[in-house]
Subunit: 186 residues, 2 copies
């Protein structure tokens, strides 16, 4: 079955305490909504820094969460000098040590992951697309640098926008852009 691609560039999720250290008492401000209901990109950005280099202008995504997480690609990881594992969001056991620098302060913690390839679903989508009881799928990609990606996790929320989220390494390896169409293989 067909699904559209959402390309996730490096970004940061923050918990309330870390947000206050980085940005002080000013509130998080929305720049634009994302496709997933309730999620948005903020005007706020941070600098992320590993043992080798830093990357500027890394977007904070809202709303605040119960955990702080820095999602990077493997290419970013080499640039920064960090060693992030592949993880589902929020599973930060063994995450890579990284420094996050904001206008008001900085934190250093084990928060860096490479996000596992995932598809956003909810109960209605699972029913509509015959995906009930399925946790992992593969996805077929056409084109000059086509192929198949395995270990694509189905990620449930109360209300989801049906979309395949890939990091920039996966997207660029397969020459995929935002909203391109690919095919789920169960």
């Amino acid at each position: 079955m067909k699904i559209t691609v959402g390309v996730s560039n490096r970004h940061v999720h923050l918990n309330y305490d870390d947000y206050k250290i980085l940005f002080g008492d000013i509130p998080l401000t929305k720049r634009n909504d994302l496709n997933q209901p309730g999620m948005y990109a903020c005007n706020e950005t941070v600098i992320i820094e590993g043992s080798k280099r830093s990357i500027n202008n890394v977007r904070v995504l809202g709303p605040l969460r119960s955990y702080t997480q820095v999602e990077v690609s493997k290419t970013d990881a080499y640039t920064l000098g960090v060693d992030p594992p592949v993880r589902n969001s929020g599973e930060l056991d063994g995450a890579g040590l990284i420094k996050i620098i904001g206008p008001c302060g900085e934190i250093e913690k084990e928060a860096a992951i490479i996000a596992a390839r995932h598809i956003h679903v909810d109960k209605k989508i699972r029913k509509e697309h015959n995906l009930e009881g399925i946790e992992i799928v593969s996805v077929k990609i056409l084109g000059e640098k086509g192929g198949i990606i395995d270990n694509v996790h189905l990620k449930d929320s109360d209300e989801a926008y049906f979309e395949l989220h890939l990091d920039t390494d996966d997207a660029n390896a397969f020459l995929l852009k935002q909203n391109d169409e690919v095919e789920i293989i169960k």
Copy 2:
């Protein structure tokens, strides 16, 4: 059948005339041999520049060739602001416009490509591995971000080292490193 991976970072091949413009009359100097017989990385580097940004320290590979070619990843292409097609080496029709800057001068020409995924073979390797008459294969990659890459071209030379060459986007998307082992699927 098993094959090892060679990861190709961005690099430049130069023809004699372009080399002279960029480096003057000093000869090209070898830094280290590559796995392909006769090929080597040079001490010489250039700056490559697109419409948006430049990238420093881009390695020149030797020996000089009959054509000048800049091999980049799609990630590099976004960084630079160039629009390279996917091409086999030397097929520069429609290649992306790029500036190459050396210590003695600069050139701007349609030379930027994303190298097609390829496997180096020769007659002996084709015979040994039962690859005679085959032009394109797929490759299966295991691991947390595993999958299959299609459109992998077999590239013949008189004497080859049997190796799969991937750019950094493909390698990083699949968490592959130099000398990792993958599987050819015909």
